[in-house]
């Protein structure tokens, strides 16, 4: 690499050899990193899931698929799984719909657009722990301003985070509030890539605003929507920090109503130190994420020709 061969000699095979050598020199340290910090731990989790691995005990016996069988009978895991699915089903469409509406509105205005965009983005850069505390206070049944507002509107005050029926939705609202700014900017980016000539042509053809949206905006936003759905789903399936910090004394909410799979894994692994069982849950979570991601990429991605 230090000796520079004349350009002519580097054609064909020797040039490719040179490129390969350089590439692998550059990739050496990163490949070791990915191997040690990402791939080996993944395999290690698979292995741990086959053992009764409790770091407080002296022996770690091999138990085969016992941990996985235990999962099927574990009602709390079932609840965590249902909750996580519910968070995803509420959160992903909500943030995409709200994000799209705000982005379309922001596209309509000229003055103050940058300022509005920045203000909507602010929650995204807020530390989650701080946001969760404020949320707890806002929705407090006794001294929360949200209930004060409801009373002012002559609506019965609600229990929100203290109610098993409302805690999950209130938590999801926090996550949507935090993600919205990112979502808006993502859609603004997607919208900016659509050539204006398409709309002009549609206008000449007599299309109204609704038609233009469904025939031009929506299909051409498809790549952005797929990106949002896939990355949003992955992040909702791993929901943890918001849930933990919303209720620090009763993590997982009243009657486990806000418990997520990630929080359950955390409690099993680092509360009870049952690393084997917790690993089995992580493997199941991984398979769910893998299946959903592949499904979404397969069925959401469309090619539109205009």
């Amino acid at each position: 690499m230090t000796v520079t061969a004349p350009p002519k000699a580097r054609r064909g095979g020797s040039m490719r050899r040179h490129q390969t050598r350089t590439a692998y020199t550059f990739l050496l340290v990163p490949l070791i990193f990915y191997l040690i910090v990402r791939f080996l731990p993944t395999l290690s989790a698979l292995r741990l899931s086959l053992f009764d691995w409790n770091i407080l005990k002296d022996t770690q016996p091999f138990v085969g698929t016992e941990n996985y069988q235990r999962l099927f009978a574990d009602e709390k895991f079932g609840q965590a799984l249902r909750n996580t699915a519910l968070y995803t089903v509420i959160g992903v469409p909500a943030q995409i719909a709200l994000g799209l509406i705000v982005a379309l509105l922001l596209n309509k205005i000229i003055a103050l657009r940058g300022l509005f965009r920045a203000l909507y983005f602010a929650p995204y850069v807020t530390p989650i722990v701080a946001a969760a505390w404020v949320w707890q206070w806002l929705f407090s049944p006794q001294f929360g301003p949200v209930n004060t507002f409801l009373i002012w509107l002559h609506i019965t005050p609600q229990n929100f985070l203290n109610s098993p029926d409302q805690a999950l939705a209130t938590t999801a609202a926090l996550v949507v509030w935090q993600n919205l700014g990112f979502q808006i900017v993502l859609f603004l980016a997607g919208l900016s890539a659509i050539p204006r000539s398409y709309y002009e042509a549609a206008e000449i053809d007599g299309a109204n605003g609704t038609q233009a949206f469904w025939k031009i905006t929506w299909p051409l936003l498809n790549p952005t929507i797929v990106f949002s759905v896939v990355t949003g789903t992955i992040s909702y399936l791993q929901l943890f920090t918001q849930v933990v910090n919303l209720n620090f004394t009763d993590q997982g909410g009243p009657l486990g109503s806000t418990m997520t799979v990630a929080l359950y894994i955390y409690q099993i692994a680092f509360g009870r130190f049952q690393m084997g069982y917790a690993s089995a849950i992580t493997v199941v979570l991984f398979l769910i994420i893998l299946a959903i991601t592949l499904f979404q990429l397969r069925f959401l991605t469309r090619r539109y020709d205009l």
Binding site: F26, Y34, R38, N107, T126, V134, A212, N245, A269, F270
Partner: protein, 295 residues
């Protein structure tokens, strides 16, 4: 992607069919809805800030504005807790990981974009696939490994333990690869003919040309590590090594539920991030614009 780079003013291609320059009913309506949205979005911030200025006595009366504003909560947080130390820890952790991510992710992205070699696509797919591995799955083996070698007992060990998962990021590799692909090969070839070393070409020719991408990657990496919670919560045992999110989260339990202190701590944790955001707003948004395009 190039269209965005060429036209920073997105108004000309914006999704709306006819951006109107004069105020009319639809535009007024848009302003109205957006303003209501902003008020709702920012209300939690206002509440946090105003509550942090309330004295203990008036904390629970439901007035919006503090009657006699006081900075006592801030004094207590700064002087009577480890807040400043946690702040410093977070700064160190986020700073170091941002530097390593920028260096390695751009090197990997450049290699995957600009070299032809066997295994190239496989390596790219493998790195990208790590995005689907849930953090929870990795955290358990990391914890077992870190405990086995008693890493967190000493100063460099503890900081290394917090940082190592974030030293490189697959998302950054993806982002940088997209950017380097837009660089013309001729430029690099010319430097090669001039006898520049391969690392020199990367460092002195290619890297300066993707500065906008580096800026946005830097900001996202910094934010991500500044706010990281799960792994630091698990790996740190000693209070003095806690990062800001972990310190303040556990501070809730230790201080009882002293809402005044909590709101002051939250406000302090938000302020630096908001300042950074205000300064780099343009790059942050541009960064999303450029990554979002690739859906």
């Amino acid at each position: 992607m190039t269209t965005t780079l060429d036209k920073p003013d997105t108004r000309e291609t914006a999704g709306d069919p006819r951006p109107q320059r004069r105020l009319n009913t639809p535009m007024l309506l848009a302003y109205l809805v957006l303003t209501v949205g902003i008020v709702v979005t920012l209300f939690p911030f206002m509440w946090m800030l105003l509550t942090s200025l309330k004295s203990f006595q008036e904390l629970f009366n439901l007035s919006f504005l503090p009657e006699s504003p006081t900075l006592d909560n801030y004094r207590q947080v700064l002087l009577e807790t480890k807040f400043i130390q946690w702040f410093g820890n977070s700064l160190l952790v986020a700073g170091v990981t941002t530097a390593t991510v920028l260096f390695f992710d751009s090197m990997v992205g450049y290699t995957l974009a600009k070299f032809d070699f066997p295994g190239k696509n496989l390596i790219f797919i493998l790195i990208l696939s790590t995005l689907m591995i849930p953090t929870e799955m990795l955290v358990i083996p990391w914890f077992v490994g870190v405990s086995d070698i008693h890493l967190t007992g000493s100063v460099p060990g503890a900081y290394f333990a917090i940082m190592f998962p974030g030293l490189m990021s697959a998302f950054g590799v993806f982002l940088m690869r997209q950017f380097f692909e837009t660089l013309p090969d001729d430029l690099l070839e010319a430097a090669r003919i001039d006898g520049m070393s391969e690392f020199g070409i990367f460092w002195r020719i290619a890297l300066p040309l993707v500065r906008p991408a580096l800026a946005s990657l830097a900001i996202f990496t910094f934010l991500g590590n500044w706010n990281a919670f799960l792994w630091p919560l698990i790996v740190i045992q000693r209070p003095e090594f806690r990062t800001l999110p972990v310190g303040t989260a556990l501070f809730n339990g230790e201080a009882g539920t002293q809402w005044g202190l909590i709101m002051a701590a939250s406000s302090l944790a938000v302020i630096p991030v908001l300042i950074v955001f205000a300064i780099f707003q343009k790059q942050i948004i541009e960064g999303i614009v450029l990554t979002g395009m690739k859906g």
